[in-house]
């Protein structure tokens, strides 16, 4: 598992985790466990709570997301995360960048 491809996959996954979280929060606010389930369903994006919570905290510190506690009937209060205005702008920029990057990568293939 230490070969080139696997290392590359780890790097790519790490690189896209933030944008995945922001995209997951683009439409609705979600609580932590819900986010883990949503992102874990994306093929190739293996994610655990231990990875998610530090990332959520970092995005909140950066002002891209906000959180609020909501009482739940099913158990303890849940912490809901949602995108801030800055978060939406940043996500749009990130999407645009990824699109350009994708196109650029493909054009390299065609030139061959």
């Amino acid at each position: 598992m230490t070969d080139f491809f696997d290392n590359w996959v780890v790097q790519v996954r790490k690189g896209v985790l933030e944008v995945c979280i922001l995209r997951a929060l683009e439409k609705d606010e979600r609580y932590g466990y819900e986010l883990v389930k949503t992102l874990a369903a994306v093929p190739g994006l293996a994610l655990s709570e231990g990875t998610l919570y530090p990332l959520l905290s970092r995005l909140r510190v950066a002002g891209l997301i906000s959180s609020r506690l909501v009482e739940s009937d099913a158990g303890p209060a849940r912490k809901y995360y949602s995108l801030t205005r800055d978060g939406r702008k940043t996500l749009a920029t990130m999407n645009e960048f990824l699109e350009e990057l994708n196109k650029g990568t493909r054009s390299l293939h065609n030139k061959e």
């Binding site: 070969d3 491809f5 655990s48």
Partner: protein, 775 residues
């Protein structure tokens, strides 16, 4: 509430401490991260309902939750690239092999099969309908599109391509299974002889289609988060449609086999299923001794019983198999025929019309006629010219002709070397033996006309030379007019009921008929001329379809008062004269009236008219009506229903297929014969095929026809039913008008001359004189 052990608490705190440090290094809020993780682990403990939380429990939860990796502590990247991984990565997404086996090979196979029918001719027809061609063509088309899309990485995979791939996979799966039994042989052929790719084309193309599906899916996932749906639906739809379209032929073959079962119930069930779902084309092929081979029949070399198939075809459709165009492949015009007409004529010189023979057709047809309505007769000359386009075979033209009711063939002419030759009349066996000798053995130019049923003759002439050779014959038909009302009479035109030659689509007979009385005919392209007093006529073209229809009738104005006595020389006794007069005789009400209705399909249109005619029936003491439809149905009996309800019962009847009327006739006969002075009216369709023997009926007729047990039988065609029923109705209101014939010598003729009576001695063929005179 859970109780935490000390080691468990220590393990949790250790875990949180480690994550706090690592979170701080990544720029996250360490307290927040620790709080979130603590909350998560407590939730997990709660969810698992642990009474005592041990270090092991915490370790298990932590291992699932994961630890934030240490920042920037990874090992330097080791470029371990295996040969296999490099090879896989370098492999093109749309390769040449996919193009060859997925597009070129199936397309070439389809084109070869369409043009040569190599599989259809040797194993089974894989392309029985154009729908099958369309679905097979979907495989190379889908593969070509997918291949082209995959070569351009910037092109977005459209939804329709995904569905088209599904259709191609469905079609490929169906045909791979179809060709599976011969695939091992094809593989052996490739190994030993280097050819045999065609039978494997469905399997190879299916593999390619599945690979392309996989690559399309991967490309689509790379391009978009949206998952395409509907692939299974399109695949299933293709398979289901192929199965549904393929089913009629094997099912028809199965039911055709069952229709010959010894169990009447099973046979009848099969006939009913064939009427509803059967393929007429498949049934016709069996009538010509061919059968389609399909899936389960790949190794089946059984030949169908064509005689049984011909009877079944009649029972199902109500038509004689040789009264419709022979079956042929849809590819017949572009390639060698698969199911052409008979190459060899096994009916040559026989008493059956048999199947249509290749190359033979009716080239021209004209009908010339004269009618003297006030003398109650008409004379028609039907001239036919046959043409044989076969390359080398001489042909015999055979046809069964329905004559006008009561009509006879009074003259036959054959053109030999351009000269018309008159035919001789003799007994049936005598003329047939002569025909066999002259035509079939010596191959000279005879024409044979024999009676083959009431108002029906079989005409055959041989040999018609090949390569466009012609043969011309003429039938003289003398027929009495049916006196329909006191001021009108009608003539039903003769027509073909069976024939072994083709007639082009829209074939027209040329008609010219003259008469001194006014005439009426309702045919398109036929001119009726009643402008000159004492000289009326009809002329123009009649389409074959119109001539064969039940209403191909000419109507004449008559005056029953003027109906003259007709004289003719007696051909059987020299010097004697036959005189025919229309006389009115008293009649007696029958004790019982039995009506048997043929339940064949062609009768459906006649039932409402028959119902109307029933209104005129006098109050017969006992009336019963039978319908011969898939057995015997007693649809009306005076004893259990009011006579007024009979018309409504009859008009609601519907015919189906071709029916055997003999059982119903036997039952009706038994009922009618139980009383003397009974009448049985049988109203029937063309009845071109005899399904069962008639000896039982004949036996009853022989024993019951004497004066002691009078039983009158009135068979009539559906188009003459009004005449028959009205005639019956009139006759039992006291009197009946009928023609009476008597014979006497020339001297007696002079002595019996009545004042004002017109004598016309017209010889054996009366109209011959008149036709020449009119020309």
């Amino acid at each position: 509430m859970s109780t935490w052990t000390k080691p468990a608490l220590e393990r949790l705190e250790e875990y949180l401490r480690k994550n706090r440090e690592r979170a701080e290094a990544t720029g996250a809020d360490p307290d927040e991260v620790a709080a979130d993780l603590r909350q998560h682990i407590e939730n997990e403990v709660e969810a698992q309902k642990l009474q005592v939380v041990t270090e092991e429990d915490i370790g298990r939860i932590i291992s699932r939750t994961g630890v934030l990796p240490e920042p920037e502590t990874r090992e330097p990247i080791t470029p371990l690239i295996t040969r296999a991984r490099v090879k896989r990565a370098a492999k093109p997404v749309a390769s040449g092999a996919l193009l060859f086996f997925g597009v070129i090979q199936p397309l070439a196979t389809l084109i070869i099969e369409l043009s040569t029918h190599i599989c259809a001719g040797t194993l089974f027809d894989p392309l029985p309908t154009w729908f099958h061609v369309f679905l097979i063509a979907s495989i190379p088309v889908a593969n070509a599109c997918a291949w082209s899309w995959l070569r351009d990485e910037n092109r977005t995979v459209p939804q329709w391509l995904w569905w088209l791939n599904g259709v191609a996979v469905g079609s490929g799966t169906f045909y791979s299974l179809l060709f599976l039994p011969i695939s091992p042989f094809a593989l052996l052929a490739i190994l030993f002889f280097g050819f045999g790719l065609m039978p494997l084309a469905p399997l190879f193309s299916l593999i390619c289609t599945l690979r392309l599906r996989s690559r399309l899916g991967k490309r689509q996932r790379e391009q978009s988060n949206v998952t395409f749906k509907g692939w299974w639906w399109s695949t299933s739809a293709a398979v289901v449609l192929l199965v549904l379209f393929a089913l009629p032929e094997p099912l028809t073959q199965h039911w055709m086999d069952v229709a010959g079962s010894e169990s009447p119930e099973e046979a009848l069930h099969a006939v009913r299923m064939l009427r509803r779902f059967g393929s007429e084309d498949t049934m016709l092929k069996q009538c010509y001794g061919r059968r389609d081979r399909w899936m389960t029949d790949i190794w089946d070399s059984r030949w169908p019983d064509s005689g049984l198939a011909q009877k079944t075809f009649y029972r199902v459709t109500g038509k004689a198999y040789n009264s419709v165009s022979p079956p042929f492949s849809k590819y017949q015009k572009s390639a060698r025929p698969l199911f052409d007409e008979f190459e060899f004529d096994d009916g040559l010189g026989g008493e059956n019309v048999a199947g249509k023979v290749r190359g033979l057709s009716l080239n021209q047809s004209r009908i010339d006629g004269l009618s003297q309505p006030n003398e109650g007769w008409a004379y028609l000359q039907w001239t036919m010219e046959f043409r044989n386009d076969h390359e080398w075979n001489q042909r015999e033209a055979r046809a069964q002709i329905q004559l006008p009711p009561g009509g006879v063939v009074s003259r036959v002419t054959l053109w030999v070397n351009g000269e018309p030759r008159e035919a001789a009349f003799a007994g049936k066996s005598e003329v047939r033996a002569a025909y066999q000798q002259v035509a079939v053995r010596e191959r000279r130019d005879p024409v044979l006309v024999t009676m083959c049923g009431p108002d029906r003759v079989l005409v055959q002439c041989f040999p018609i030379p090949p390569k466009g050779g012609l043969m011309k014959i003429r039938l003289g038909i003398t027929a009495p007019l049916s006196i329909e009302q006191t001021n009108s009479a009608q003539l039903r035109m003769p027509c073909f009921t069976e024939r072994n030659f083709k007639m082009s689509s829209g074939f027209e007979h040329s008609l010219w008929l003259e008469t001194p009385e006014k005439v009426d005919a309702k045919f398109a392209k036929l001119t009726v001329d009643n402008t000159q007093p004492g000289k009326s006529g009809v002329r123009g073209q009649i389409k074959e379809d119109a001539l064969s229809a039940n209403d191909a009738i000419l109507k004449f104005e008559i005056s029953t008062a003027k109906l003259a006595t007709l004289h003719a020389a007696d051909p059987k006794s020299k010097g004697r004269v036959v005189r025919q007069t229309l006389e009115t005789v008293p009649t007696k009400m029958p004790t019982r009236l039995a009506i048997v209705l043929d339940g064949s399909k062609e009768m459906t249109q006649a039932f409402p008219e028959i119902a109307k005619a029933l209104h005129g029936i006098p109050s017969v003491p006992e009336l019963s009506i039978w319908l011969a439809k898939d057995g015997v149905q007693n649809v009306f009996n005076r004893q259990w229903r009011n006579l007024d309800t009979a018309p409504s019962t009859i008009s609601a009847l519907r015919g189906a297929g071709g029916q055997d009327d003999v059982p119903a006739l036997l039952e009706a006969w038994e009922w009618a014969a139980a009383q003397t002075n009974s009448t049985l009216i049988w109203i029937h369709g063309a009845q071109p095929v005899l399904l069962t023997g008639v000896e039982a009926l004949r036996q009853r007729f022989d024993w019951k026809s004497g004066p002691a047990a009078r039983l009158e039988i009135r068979p009539c065609r559906a188009n003459d039913h009004r005449c028959a029923i009205r005639g019956f109705a009139e006759s039992h209101h006291g009197t009946i008008r009928r023609f009476h014939s008597d014979r006497f010598t020339a001297a007696q003729r002079q002595a019996q001359r009545r004042p004002g009576e017109t004598f016309r001695d017209m010889g054996r063929t009366p109209a011959k004189v008149n036709l020449k005179k009119n020309r």
